[in-house]
């Protein structure tokens, strides 16, 4: 049950002369929510993007779903990436078309289903995230939380096995953030999806995380279950969890 979907060994990323990530090794278990934690600027988003090869990292091994990501040619990479969904920080919905069409794009491009069926599937996905009524709206007409949910619906269009989320609750009020977390939890439980989430929202971490990877200045300081993380005596980790408590 506890098999690994993503395995990283000694992954490094540098911009110019500054090293952002240095020899990061980590494992992401299947059907779990793994949260990548850390203070701002520690390389969380960079790690997420380099797993997806949006940034070219150097690594001894970067294995996703049994394939060496860095050694795939374009076609193999594209077929692997179709098994994943990505929720970007600001949604990254295509602004020129309606959200229903946004959700339809992956289906139109990668399947040979008929257009009416695609529209139907897309509407179902939108209903799943609570946006069934807003399909014909343009992304610009939506609020921040709605955009994120629409983007989540788009990321789910091809029923991915792994969902990557870059700061899903950033910029959302606590109530909206709670709803988004509940949505993520129900997707994980009902659809058996593996989640990789970058965040620093403590409330959200407490609610959804199963597994935690803590980054500090480009290094992995901690990797393990949430319970272990909360009882860990690593000073940076202690400081991180204590800084948000209300006592």
């Amino acid at each position: 049950m506890n098999e690994t979907v993503i395995h990283i060994e000694k992954l490094s990323v540098s911009y110019g002369s500054s090293l952002i990530l240095e020899e990061v090794s980590a494992d992401f278990p299947r059907d779990r929510i793994t949260v990548i934690l850390g203070t701002s600027g520690c390389g969380k988003t960079t790690l997420l993007k380099s797993i997806l090869r949006l940034i070219e990292p150097r690594a001894e091994s970067l294995n996703m779903l049994g394939e060496e990501v860095l050694q795939l040619n374009e076609e193999e990479y594209n077929s692997l990436i179709r098994k994943t969904g990505v929720l970007f920080q600001n949604g990254a919905l295509l602004n020129s078309v309606s959200i229903l069409e946004n959700v339809s794009i992956p289906l139109e491009q990668h399947t040979t289903l008929s257009i009416p069926l695609i529209r139907e599937i897309a509407s179902r996905k939108l209903e799943l995230v609570g946006l069934g009524h807003a399909g014909d709206k343009l992304p610009g007409e939506l609020s921040g939380g709605m955009k994120k949910r629409a983007a989540l619906a788009r990321a789910m269009a091809l029923d991915p096995q792994i969902m990557f989320c870059d700061e899903p609750s950033a910029g959302l009020d606590p109530v909206t953030s709670l709803k988004l977390d509940e949505l993520i939890l129900s997707l994980k439980n009902q659809l058996k999806m593996t989640f990789v989430i970058v965040t620093h929202e403590l409330a959200s971490i407490h609610r959804i995380a199963d597994h935690i990877i803590f980054l500090e200045k480009g290094h992995v300081l901690f990797s393990g279950s949430k319970e272990d993380a909360l009882s860990s005596q690593i000073p940076e980790l202690l400081h991180f969890f204590q800084s948000g408590s209300f006592q």
Partner: protein
């Protein structure tokens, strides 16, 4: 009154040290350093009453410069003094000064990278567009038509209007000279040849660079910055196929049409002037117009225009894809795209003229 005095080597600062008093204090201190009979040996702050951030930075600099400690710091100002000392202790700020050789090397490297990236992008766009002719699934349905309307059809009005005016102006200037020799009728040839071979393609290209090129650059730059391009990649879609190729294909076939519009309206402008100002019969003017024109002239003009269109789309896409930062980055890449593509169009036109002259 100057709020400082020098007694037996001790520099005593007094009262308020801050933005308002610093100009005087700075001058006075440097005067004392040069002219004082004895060098400054101690810095006494006991009589300072007020200190702001500027004052604190000044004091730290002075103490570092003279290599003297700040003495007798009153309790009221010690907080401000301490907060601004931390930043000062982190070493001097990087000045960013590099020598000539380094800068020359950086420029050379940047130009090479630019050239390389443009070439790669050009080959990508061509490959994607050729494949796009038969692999219609790789783009959104109707996107080529939509782009043709946006980039081409919507520019129809402005191109027709400006070309008409250009034709009118050219005819006016030509007529003033030709009338002296009783050769007014040759205005028709002047307009026909210059519109078909030069003015038509170039005017259209410049308008398209300013209008559609900037639209392409800003659209792609915005997509880059809002991570839409990354999102496309994560849906296993190639941004060049999905976003750029439809624009490239659309402009390839709309550009010659726009140039035709430009030529026809430019000649119409000449005709209007010929008939009203030079009293030429319309039929004679029209006959004369086509007398000198060859099919080759038209082919040269139209093929040139397609080439210009490609250059505009490639440059606009390049700057769009290079965008970084926030909304300011979008503005920067749009500006660069328009400037560089107008420049490229004019230089290329000069090259073409030379080529077809020989």
């Amino acid at each position: 009154m100057i709020p400082l005095e020098l007694q037996e080597g001790t520099l005593k600062l007094q009262g308020e040290i801050g933005r308002s008093t610093l100009p005087v204090i700075e001058k006075e201190v440097s005067r004392l350093q040069k002219k004082a009979p004895e060098p400054i040996q101690r810095l006494d702050l006991s009589e300072v009453e007020q200190l702001d951030s500027a004052g604190a930075v000044f004091l730290h600099r002075l103490s570092a410069q003279l290599q003297l400690p700040l003495e007798n710091v009153p309790a009221e100002i010690s907080g401000v003094l301490e907060i601004f000392s931390r930043a000062a202790e982190e070493g001097p700020l990087a000045t960013g000064e590099r020598n000539l050789l380094v800068r020359a090397g950086e420029h050379a490297f940047a130009s090479l990278t630019f050239l390389f990236r443009i070439l790669v992008l050009t080959s990508d766009i061509f490959a994607a567009s050729f494949r796009g002719i038969y692999e219609t699934k790789r783009r959104r349905r109707g996107s080529v038509t939509q782009q043709a309307v946006q980039l081409g059809l919507n520019a129809f009005g402005i191109i027709a209007l400006l070309s008409f005016i250009i034709g009118l102006i050219l005819a006016m200037q030509g007529a003033a000279q030709l009338r002296q020799f009783g050769a007014s009728i040759f205005v028709a040839d002047l307009i026909a040849v210059s519109m078909v071979r030069e003015m038509g393609p170039m005017m259209t290209a410049i308008i398209i660079a300013g209008r559609s090129g900037s639209a392409i650059a800003s659209e792609i730059a915005t997509m880059k910055i809002s991570e839409e391009l990354d999102a496309l990649k994560m849906m296993a879609l190639d941004p060049v196929h999905y976003v750029i190729a439809p624009k490239f294909m659309a402009i390839t076939f709309t550009m010659p049409m726009l140039v035709m519009i430009s030529i026809v309206t430019g000649m119409a402008g000449g005709l209007v002037l010929g008939v009203t100002y030079l009293d030429l019969p319309a039929s004679a003017y029209i006959l004369e117009s086509f007398y000198f024109l060859t099919v080759q002239d038209l082919m040269v003009g139209l093929s040139k225009s397609v080439f210009f269109a490609w250059v505009i789309v490639i440059i606009a896409s390049y700057y769009g894809l290079q965008a970084s930062g926030g909304s300011e980055g979008v503005g920067r890449s749009t500006t660069s795209s328009v400037v560089v593509s107008i420049f490229a169009v004019i230089v290329l036109d000069a090259l073409f003229s030379l080529l077809f002259l020989i």
